[in-house]
Amino acid sequence: MRLALRELHRRPSRFVVATAILALISLLLIVLGGLMDGLTASSTDALRSQRGELIVYSFDAESSLVRSRITPEVRGEVERVAGARSVAGLGSVQLGARVPGRGPRQLVPVVLFGYQLAPRQLPDVVPVRDEVFADSSLESQGVRKGMTIALGPARSPVRIIGFLDGSRYSGQGTLWGSLDTWRAVIGANRPSERAGVGVQQALVVQTNGRSPSAVAAAIDRATGAATKTLTIDRAIHAVPGISAQQTTFNQIIGVTVAIGVLVVALFFALITVERVGLYGVLKAIGASSRTLFIGVMLQALVVALIASAIGVAAGVALDLAIPSGGSIPYSASAGRLITSTVYLAIAALIGCGFSLRRVLRVDPASAIGASDV
């Protein structure tokens, strides 16, 4: 193993090409993963920021907030389920916002949420009517604390009283106010979607320690299948387009990893061919195939880790360079950086595995000019 590390140290130029290609592959993995995470986050962070474990939709809503309606009677049935510690209403409406300082036609797309259970980062007390918290991504659109913006064709005024991070939905910045504010705004701007008194789009449920899945099933039983209750994670994946988007990105990531395997396989196959003479001598003086192959694996792993470090640095730099909430939904999370590094390391180990047969076939007798044929 020390021999393999010494070669890396003393002959770095030999590994530069492979390291450079793998660094680009690492960056590609991070960018693809970061875009997938960013797209998913910008479409679903409003759900992820909920403090409850479950979201209850009406059964025929197909897990869509817009289509879902929960009546007071159904809510009462949910509240009586043993595992439900607290039940809170949730409503949403997508509108264009007129922001002071922008042109009259330069509308900012927003999603107004009405809530009873405060999402993470917001105080427990729900704001009074016509006051809202705004997602911090809206700051890049000119939204400021204390400003009053006008929502929708009815130009319903709401005043910004603060900001929260990471609560975007459907790729848009969000506003968070009371259910009364939501009901008034949707009534004024979307008369056809008007929600009656006590009607909400969905319910956010906190459980009392029981398994959320079990409570979800109990809720749907209690409402006589009038509801469809999902955990937050399942609700995120049920948002239209998210699963297809993640599947597509994961397939591209899979192909990228496969290319990484191919690059490592080809590179170490070439290096192994070059080393047949050296391996013959080392086997002749007592090296086992296992020792030599561990050396190959160690070199592949070190090359992959160096390439990953370069890729991670570039990925983080990209994250810093891209403005938050901008048009590129890129997010380089620690988890994504670690996952990409692990993918590349696994690709390197699998790739160098293709050299195993060649290492095993090196005949120690070749060092002395004889061979057992």
Partner: protein, 246 residues
Amino acid sequence: MRAGPKRGESPNEPMAAPAGVPALQMQEVRKIYGSGENAVAALDGVDLTLGSDEILALVGPSGSGKTTLCSIAGGLLTPSSGTVIVGGSDISRYSSKQLTEFRRSAVGFVFQTVNLVSFLTARENLLVVDELGPRTGRRARERADQLLDELGLAKRADNLPAELSGGERQRVAIGRALMNEPDLVLFDEPTSALDTHLGDQVVALIRQEMKSRGTAAIIVTHDQRITHYADRVATIVDGRVTDSSA
């Protein structure tokens, strides 16, 4: 002082040869390549015994079986039949794993093309032998330095092979072959890449090192001029040792 673990401590390792035990005994050794009509006997009933500190020059024309004999004696090849005993251990039926262990601990090789590891210094080339087995660290470093000193390479210990002359590289290869304190050292055409004067010096050095350690050696050579450094000369033709004279 021994660089590696004492032989015989592991079930795979041959026992150290007791004093007076021949370094090598080959009895009726045959090596057949191919089968049926294509069968070729590279060695054909070789009987050869080498004393514990004896130096044998093995001469013969190309294709006569010199390299095959050397390879079987060094555990690089297994015989088709016959018995090979090195340092008191019968290696004829050793498995591939046992032969690897045997080569690491009981024999030394000096190859025709030297074959040092190009990115390792002279000292590190010697220490490779230690790194391939159970490592002994400081003891191995001390032994490597002692060998380099004895071979006149103390000041070249930190040089890479590319920075050494042909003779110096050959001496490093000799040092590597001696690192594991072998019972038997096999030299494959050690002077083929050297001029006459340097070749003479290297063979004189080989004799001096072998005799001072009481180690047996086989020197495979085409060069009749260096055979006078050997205790005995064996001639091999068509896989048979036809002459063995002092």
